[in-house]
Amino acid sequence: MSFLSKQNKTTLTEPLNLNNPIVAQVLGICSALAVTSQLKPAIVMGLSVTIITAMANVVISLLRKTIPNRIRIIVQLVVVAALVTIVSMVLKAYFYDVSVQLSVYVGLIITNCILMGRLEAFAMQNKVLPSLLDGIGNGLGYAWILVVVAFFRELLGNGTLLGYTVIPQSFYDLGYQNNGMMTMPAMALIIVGCVIWANCAYNNRKK
């Protein structure tokens, strides 16, 4: 199988849209609501999940023939836990302020349904390269939703993007105010709903 055969391409691109972990499978919602109040932690979280999903998929795919079926979940968890610990340490070492903002949610990647789902559904049955692409695809599919949600929440809730003030002072002078509800997880759920709505409408139109 060549690197970008048609099947591999589908494996990579399908999770971005038609089979998106958040929008289509509605997995990993808790972390999507918790870390998206600002853009920066959302981007870091999205990248962390992408890296961990891809690596875990590769490792499990390599081990898939030797893992005894009855203890496969434990093995998967050990692999994911090791990767999460590494990522968490890297974040603490190089991006300390972001890791403080993400608090427990990096550690909770272990319990992220997307990871377990991909390991069980894909990596256990497929070769290394497709597993890698599947992991990257699903991670990025998760990440872009996070970024979209965080974009709106930070812009409307704080008037900033990546910490820089975007909405000019003259708006505030005219009576504009930041929307406090945007910083609450309740509004994040509504925005995720809107993204799902827009995505479905787009896909239906394409059909």
Binding site: Q177, G180, M181, A186
Partner: protein, 382 residues
């Protein structure tokens, strides 16, 4: 009435199939059936003939809201003239309030009905009349100084996310007007619950005068929270206190309540049990010393009466079983007082109480329906 009918008869071809304005057919039908009794009847299925349909119910509730709205206008003027230290005649105060409130009502209807029209047009459905009441209630449950754009945003949010995505009028789980208020409450709490929002502070068309931006005036309930209350019971019942536009006067609300109960539109069971629940809870808290004011003062203050009369009884979102209405209403009263007394952050709890019970209304109905089924099953078996 005849000239209205003639007008609709004359313009009908423009809107029917092949006419110039066929695209706006649903708007035409909406206005026609609002003003006149529709001259089409259903062609299939079982239809129940009643003297009253949902458009007439809505108009009746709008009429019942009139006393509260008119008094609200007067009170806006009264509070402003008092704050400004001006002497105004009754008519001047009323005119000031009218001019302050009118833009809100216009914007509320324009945004809400606009969305309804677009959705009806898009889905090729008839326009649903549900917004008629909501459009008037929203300005009445907001402080007078809430900016127009915030209100418009909240209404758009509420109509789309609380009503249209559930399937439109009659399908919503939450009271639309309260969702609009809750959106503002959580989004822009400074403009909704702060001290400076309750009194209009600018001159309008030469009436009244500009007050400094820093002018503040707390509602009696907020004062209760901080341990001081200046309003007399008389003022609270008549309604000459700062507060959301339509909620202050118990007498005006009572007039509306009488009309709703007399026509049978609102359920007396819900209404009564809200007051019973609230009164008992407040009396209990007063006896234990948790709240400084008497139980009847709790009932006449804030949005309690307005909520009990116009929003708890909303036939769509309240419990629909007759027995369920008692429990539904009772718990609204209990929760409203609980929030007021036990949560120092929120001086008023009526909005949260009604929204919360809206959520549980289907569950209450479920238990009552099941109970009924079980009772009848038992009867068959014996």
């Amino acid at each position: 009435m005849n000239f209205i009918k003639k007008f609709f008869d004359k313009t009908r071809p423009t809107f029917s199939e092949g006419g110039k304005l066929h695209a706006l057919r649903s708007v035409y039908e909406g206005f026609e059936s609002f003003l006149l009794v529709p001259n089409t009847t259903s062609k299939s299925g079982v239809s129940i003939h009643d003297a009253i349909d949902s458009k007439r119910i809505m108009s009746m509730v709008v009429i019942a809201l009139m006393p509260a709205m008119l008094f609200g206008m007067y009170n806006i003027g009264y509070q402003h003239y008092m704050a400004a230290g001006l002497d105004g005649s009754l008519m001047e105060m009323f005119a000031y309030g009218l001019l302050a409130l009118l833009p809100k009502i216009v914007v509320s209807y324009a945004v809400g009905l606009g969305i309804e029209f677009v959705v009806a047009q898009y889905k090729h459905e008839e326009i649903q009349e549900g917004y008629l009441v909501t459009g008037l209630i929203v300005p009445l449950i907001l402080p007078i100084n809430c900016p127009l754009w915030m209100m418009a945003l909240a209404i758009a949010f509420a109509v789309i996310f609380a009503k249209e995505i559930f399937g439109g009028t009659g399908m919503n789980i939450f009271n639309v007007a309260l969702v609009a208020r809750a959106f503002l409450f959580f989004s822009y709490s400074g403009k909704m619950t702060g001290d400076e929002v309750w009194v209009a502070n600018e001159s309008i068309l030469g009436l009244g005068k500009d007050l400094p931006d820093t002018f503040t005036c707390a509602t009696p309930l907020a004062e209760v929270g901080s341990g001081q209350m200046s309003a007399s019971l008389n003022d609270m019942v008549v309604g000459l206190i700062p507060g959301s536009v339509g909620e202050t006067s118990v007498i005006a609300i009572a007039l509306g309540a009488a009309l709703l109960l007399w026509t049978g539109i609102a359920s007396w069971k819900t209404m009564l049990s809200v007051f019973v629940g609230g009164g008992l809870t407040a009396a209990l808290f007063h006896a234990t010393g948790s709240t400084p004011i008497e139980w009847y003062e709790h009932l006449v203050l804030g949005g309690f009466c307005f909520g009990a009369v116009f929003m708890a009884t909303d036939p769509v979102t309240s419990a629909r079983t007759e027995g369920g209405k008692y429990i539904y209403g009772f718990l609204i009263g209990v929760i409203a007082i609980l929030v007021r007394v036990l949560n120092p952050g929120y001086p008023e709890g009526m909005m949260l109480a009604i929204l919360f019970m809206n959520l549980f209304a289907p569950l209450i109905d479920y238990f009552f329906v099941q109970h009924n089924i079980n009772r009848r099953l038992k009867r068959i078996k014996n």
